[in-house]
C-alpha cells in the first residue's frame, strides 16, 4: 500500500547508510529536489547514487554530493557545464564513477524491475565501456551481456499522484522516473499534487500504484 506522507522528511525516513539510491531526472527536469534535500537532512551516507547526470549547480543531487554523502556515482553523463561540484570531488578522488551508456542505464534498471537476469545488448560493443564484459554473436551481430541495476530506494519526481499511488508525469520530465520506480525496493515520489483515486484516467497512468511506496506533495 502506498503511504501519502505529510512531508518530504517523512517520505525519506529510514534510508540506510550504504544504500543504492536511484534518483530520477534528466538534468533538472524530473529531478526530485525536495526529496534529495530531505535525504540530506536525514543524513544517510556512503550512498551509491544512480542517476543520468551527476548534479547541476548547487542544488539537488549536487548538494548531496557536496555534503560528501555519495561514495559512488553510476551515471551516463557526469560532465556538464554546471557539474562543478561533482567535477571537483572526482578530481580529488573523493567519489567513484561508473559511466554507463544512457540507454543501458535505463534498460538495466528495466531488467531489474522486470525480473530479467541479464540481457545481450548491442550498445557499446567494441568500446572501452564494454571492456572485460562477456560478448556473444547472435544472428551475425555482436552483443555485450549486461546485468540489472537494482536500487534500495528510488527518489523520483512526477506530476500528479492519486491516493493509491498511481503516477502521471509532465512532458520530458517523465524520463527515468517510471523505470526507476520498478527497479527499487522502496519507491518514493514527490508530486505537484495528490488527487482522489479515480481522478486519473486509467488509460493514461504511466506508473501503476504497485510500484509506488510513498508519495508526498511538495
Amino acid at each position: 500500500m502506498t503511504a501519502v506522507c505529510a512531508s518530504a522528511a517523512e517520505a525519506v525516513a529510514g534510508v540506510e547508510d550504504g544504500s543504492t539510491v536511484l534518483i530520477g531526472g534528466f538534468g533538472m527536469a524530473g529531478m526530485p529536489v525536495a526529496l534529495i534535500d530531505a535525504l540530506i537532512d536525514q543524513g544517510a551516507t556512503d550512498l551509491t547514487v544512480v542517476s543520468n547526470n551527476a548534479g547541476n549547480g548547487d542544488t539537488g543531487l549536487a548538494a548531496l554530493l557536496a555534503k560528501g554523502r555519495v561514495r559512488k556515482m553510476v551515471c551516463s553523463f557526469p560532465r556538464q557545464v554546471d557539474s562543478y561540484v561533482f567535477d571537483g570531488l572526482y578530481r580529488e578522488g573523493k567519489v567513484e564513477l561508473e559511466v554507463v551508456p544512457q540507454g543501458n542505464l535505463a534498460e538495466r534498471m528495466r531488467a531489474a524491475g522486470a525480473g530479467i537476469g541479464a540481457f545481450f545488448c548491442p550498445t557499446g560493443v567494441g568500446t572501452p565501456l564494454a571492456e572485460g564484459k562477456e560478448t556473444r554473436e547472435i544472428d551475425g551481430r555482436t552483443y555485450v551481456l549486461e546485468y540489472p541495476i537494482r536500487g534500495d530506494v528510488a527518489l523520483i519526481g512526477a506530476h500528479v499522484a492519486d491516493r493509491m499511488g498511481n503516477l502521471v508525469y509532465r512532458k520530458t520530465a517523465r524520463n527515468f522516473g517510471p523505470v526507476m520506480a520498478t527497479a527499487a525496493t522502496t519507491t518514493i515520489a514527490q508530486v505537484a499534487r495528490v488527487v482522489a483515486s479515480g481522478e486519473l484516467d486509467p488509460e493514461a497512468v504511466v506508473t501503476p500504484s504497485i510500484y509506488v511506496d510513498r508519495i508526498v506533495a511538495v
Partner: protein
C-alpha cells in the same frame, strides 16, 4: 481448531482471503481462485491484478456493465475500480516476473512437498498443450498460494513427494489450501497448518509425503 468436516470451495476461498495481508497486490488465477475475491473485506485495500493488463480490477460485470474490451485473464467480463490502471502485456508480465505482486493464488493438479507446482498439462499424449500465464505466475509473485481439493476424483493425493505431471514451476509454492487441510510447503517439506474434518494421523496415513505439525515445525 479443526472444524468437523471438509471445507466447501467457498470456505476454502474464505480461508485464502483471510491470509492475504491488508493492502496486498494479488493475482487470482483462472477458475476456483477467482472465488477468493468474494471473501476479501471491502476495507482490505487488496488490489487485484489481471495479467491481461490491469490493476484494481473490480467484480464480474453484469448486464449493461459488460464491455468486450474489459475482461479478466479467464476472458470473463469484469469491471474497473477507482484507481485502476491499464498496461500492455510486456509491462504486465514484467510486473509479475519482477516480483512486485505480493500474492498469487493458483489452482493445481499436483503440488510437491518442496513447493514444485504442476498445473498446466496432464502430460496426456493427446492433450493440446496450453500454458497461458501459469508459468509466469508461478515464479513471479512474492508468495504463491495454491487452492485445490487434496484428493483427485480417483482418490489419489494431489500433495505428492514429487510431481508426476509436467512442472509449471520449481519450488515456487508457499502454501496449499485444500478442502481438508492447509499446508506450508518448501525446502523443509510439508507442514500441516490446519485440518478440517480429518485428524493429523489420518491425513498422514493418506499422503505419501512426510508431514510435520505446525507446532513442531515452529519449534524446529
Amino acid at each position: 481448531m479443526s472444524p468437523s468436516k471438509a471445507l466447501s470451495k467457498d470456505e476454502m476461498a474464505a480461508l485464502v482471503a483471510r491470509d492475504i495481508p491488508q493492502g496486498s497486490y494479488v493475482n487470482l488465477g483462472i477458475g476456483q481462485p477467482t472465488l477468493v475475491a468474494d471473501f476479501l473485506a471491502p476495507d482490505s485495500g487488496v488490489v487485484l491484478h489481471t495479467e491481461n493488463g490491469m490493476l484494481n480490477m473490480g467484480p464480474a460485470a453484469v448486464g449493461g456493465e459488460i464491455d468486450p474490451d474489459l475482461t479478466n485473464a479467464g476472458k470473463i467480463p469484469v469491471t474497473e475500480l477507482p484507481g485502476a490502471s491499464y498496461f500492455h502485456h510486456a509491462d504486465s508480465f514484467a510486473m509479475m516476473r519482477g516480483g512486485h505482486l505480493d500474492v498469487c493464488v493458483l489452482g493445481a493438479f499436483q503440488v510437491a512437498a518442496n513447493g514444485d507446482l504442476a498445473n498446466w498439462h496432464t502430460g496426456a499424449a493427446d492433450a493440446i498443450p496450453a500454458v497461458g500465464g501459469a508459468m509466469d505466475l508461478a515464479i513471479g509473485a512474492k508468495r504463491v498460494f495454491v487452492m485445490m481439493t487434496l484428493f483427485a476424483k480417483d482418490g489419489s493425493p494431489k500433495l505428492v513427494p514429487s510431481c508426476t505431471y509436467p512442472l509449471t514451476g520449481v519450488g515456487c509454492v508457499d502454501r496449499v489450501y485444500t478442502d481438508v487441510a492447509t499446508f506450508q510447503v518448501g525446502p523443509d517439506g510439508a507442514v500441516v497448518l490446519e485440518t478440517f474434518g480429518i485428524t493429523f494421523a489420518d491425513l498422514a496415513a493418506r499422503l505419501d509425503v512426510p508431514l510435520r505439525r505446525a507446532e513442531d515445525a515452529a519449534g524446529a
